[in-house]
Amino acid sequence: MITNEVVELSRLQFALTALYHFLFVPLTLGLSFLLAIMESVYVMSGREIYKDMTRFWGKLFGINFAMGVTTGITMEFQFGTNWAYYSHYVGDIFGLPLAIEGMMAFFLESTFVGVFFFGWDKLTKMQHLTTTWLLALGTSLSALWILIANGWMQHPVGAEFNYDTMRMELISFSELFFNPVAQVKFVHTVAAGYVTGSMFVLGISGYYLLNNKDVAFARRSFRIASGFGLAAVLSVIVLGDESGYTTGEVQRAKLAAIEAEWETEEAPASFTLFGFPDEDTMTTHYAIKVPYVMGLIATRSIDQKVDGIKEIRERKHHRITNGMIAYENLQLLRQDKTNQAAKSAFEAHKDDLGHGLLLKKYTENVVDATPEQIDAAVHDAIPRVAPMFWTFRGMVLCGFTMLFIFAASFYFNAKRTAHKQRWLLRLAFYGIPLPWIASELGWVVAEYGRQPWTIANILPTHLSTSSVEPGQLYLSLAGFFVFYTVLLIIEMYLMLKYVRLGPSSLHTGRYHHEQEGLSHV
């Protein structure tokens, strides 16, 4: 029997390790492309400074990449260690993109990352440039497959339940691959990574410019980051993940929670800019609403409705009672496979089997659920509103702040005066944490907003865990806590050390600290 404690501890561990892993992934995604761009400029122009840029930002890339690899293995282990029933129940579908990711993307990036660092003298310019592009391609391909897997959790398509093997099985690869939710997520997440890389280079270059160190180096870095960053931040905002929120019921519930939309409004819905959502009374206090905007963002139309929470809950009630019928007939069918009546009843209701399983949290047998238990399950079926409401607004605020920074940088770059705008350089420097905050909040919106499911409408979170003891979980949580804290301190120490040294760390004799004879590393 799975206890609530095991479920909550498993969730906590997954959330912490995923959020931690996601401190390093976006920078890897973005910086790898910036390295490829810088090196392309080097190969085309033949100017040594661009090679130095590739190598210096490459050093910082390496420090970050090592942590990305370290924390990435955790994620792959954890589906098996902590979410064993999930792995069995949907491995036939969910494991497929992960397997392909390994063969198509991980090998590519991890094989070429070594050549990137150690192949400078052993390869021709073109060969090395190809290596760098393959490294960048590998990181983005990896994001593609992991988001296809994740998109399927949000909006599971192309799969069917098999009662012989008691699991979901894939029936259409093309539906899995072309899942609209996955496509939107891929663009949004990868572009967010490019923003992170750009903000990192922009902010640190701004810091060099403020201190008047290695100006030629910093100005060129700043310029590339502002161009790439502006394009990326526009993609993140315009191709925002929200456009995927009308596809699939769980996505719609997520949207309703983000917007604190209690009742379904007439189309086009207005956007609640600000307010205090109150779950008990199902109202939003002091709401400031902007007409039309919400309908436009979410449905890309002015005549489609955005579902409200009350309406979604009513539908859930219906699906849960259907799910009880599906579950009852599944049991009959498993006892006697020739039972035709049970088979047809199961086939008729099997899409709601997952909703029946929501009741397992309250009663092991599902079919004997009381009306109160059904109401409790209905209540669970929508994620809590306040956390969704605030995290989403935090993310959007970060996004627009970065849009301003990149737009201003791009503008002053075009006028060739960016290095003199000290306010902008300062803003860029202090803005470095913004993409990380946005990414972490975005993860919360997407994954906390998926609750109470691991696989939308198919498998509830509380059934997905492994049969482990709370003691094992406390031990592993403590282990992660210790390792991750120590590693983060070491990583930040090394990163800051190299950021301060700047391109002098390359020991070419051309940069600031070397000319002053200050280099010790």
Binding site: G80, L96, F118
Partner: protein
């Protein structure tokens, strides 16, 4: 294209291929990690050791990551049961693996000797801990894990972390650790020179002998002292079935059954044993490249001895043998196996092609002079 039965056998072979690929490719990285503080007497020597694998170890480790992904996709129930059952062991393995990416990348980025020597010990643990845990896991899998599937195919594991340390599995740890030290030393002998290469050669002799003795002991133990498993009910290899639909018996010597059905299987343990002697011989004669090829063959044959003896079992259950996971009832659906098969056939040759290219680019011995000339670039 293929029927379900053929696909399942192919997928058993792909699983074996990935296990062997990981152990051959990352095995010498792990071995070098374990040997690092002992064979490298100076900072430069240790850097030589690290840089023999520096540009390629990360790609090598990806075999493990891909093995994880493939088993998730193609053998979900096996993946779920092993990882959740061996929960604490898997986390220890994971924490051991943590030390490698950061160890390689961070160690030589600062000159402080305390910093470097701390990372050397971290890299030692990063080699030792995974080698021990993985060998221990193999030993326990051969014995059968104490798990049971309930009616909804949820896997329940009954046993503690300390139960994994039983005598047979500890013997497997000796087999595994000596094999990986051998493999690492063979690689070092090939890619280094002078005194360091000489020290590696001595390790080859000792670890080779330790391997031979422990491997023979484990073989006899398995043949006479430990239970094997056998499916006793009729099996339809083409059906989509639950593992609980079969019956299984468990008794001593059953793991030798396959040797009478497929006599050629005896080649695996034989090549493993005689191969080691050949490795030692080649190393003494300084045929360093050949030694590495043979050493890789030894690794493969050692693993195939275990895998081949157990076929069609992948994960036997010691407390409820009917719950055992086999090739015929633990695989993904036919459609998924088919898709993944195409993906593997397309991508793995590409992976192996560019890996070969990278090894060609990075070939040659690493010397102390290389390290001194490229202090700020190399690991």
């Amino acid at each position: 294209m293929f029927d379900y039965e053929t696909l399942r056998v192919i997928w058993w072979a792909i699983l074996a291929f990935l296990v062997c690929g990981f152990t051959v490719m990352d095995g010498f990285d792990l071995g070098i990690g374990m040997l690092l503080p002992f064979l490298g007497k100076t900072d430069d020597e240790r850097r030589v050791m690290l840089n023999t694998v520096g540009p390629t170890w990360e790609g090598n480790q990806t075999w493990l990551v891909t093995l994880g992904g493939i088993s998730f996709g193609a053998w979900s129930l096996v993946y779920a049961t092993v990882f959740s059952g061996l929960y604490t062991g898997m986390l220890v393995l994971l924490f051991g693996l943590f030390l490698r990416p950061v160890g390689f990348d961070y160690r030589s980025k600062l000159p402080d000797p305390r910093w470097r020597s701390s990372w050397d010990w971290a890299l030692f643990l990063g080699g030792l801990v995974p080698s021990v845990v993985l060998s221990l896991a193999v030993g326990n899998v051969i014995l059968g894990l104490p798990f049971q599937l309930d009616n909804e195919l949820r896997s329940l594991y009954i046993g503690s972390f300390w139960d994994l340390f039983n005598p047979f599995s500890l013997l497997c740890v000796v087999v595994g650790v000596s094999l990986l030290c051998l493999h690492g030393a063979v690689f070092l002998h090939w890619r280094t020179e002078a005194e360091l290469a000489e020290r590696a050669r001595r390790v080859i002799v000792w670890s080779g002998l330790a391997f031979v003795l422990s491997f023979i002991a484990a073989g006899f133990w398995l043949a006479y002292g430990q239970d094997g498993y056998l499916i006793t009910s009729a099996i339809d290899p083409n059906a989509s079935v639950s593992p609980l639909a079969k019956t299984v018996t468990k008794s001593a010597g059953l793991w030798l059954n396959n040797y009478s059905i497929y006599p050629a299987l005896v080649l695996a343990p034989s090549i493993a044993l005689f191969g080691v002697l050949l490795v030692i011989f080649c190393s003494i004669k300084r045929y360093v490249g050949t030694a590495f090829v043979v050493s890789s063959l030894v690794v493969i044959c050692t693993l195939m001895t275990a895998g081949g003896s157990m076929f069609p079992f992948i994960l036997p259950s010691s407390i409820h043998p009917a719950s055992s996971l086999t090739v015929w009832d633990a695989s993904a659906s036919r459609y998924t196996l088919q898709l993944l098969f195409f993906a593997t056939v397309v991508f793995m040759p590409i992976v192996m092609a560019y890996t070969t290219w990278v090894y060609c680019v990075m070939r040659g011995k690493v010397t102390v002079k290389d390290i001194q000339d490229n202090q700020h670039i190399l690991y």
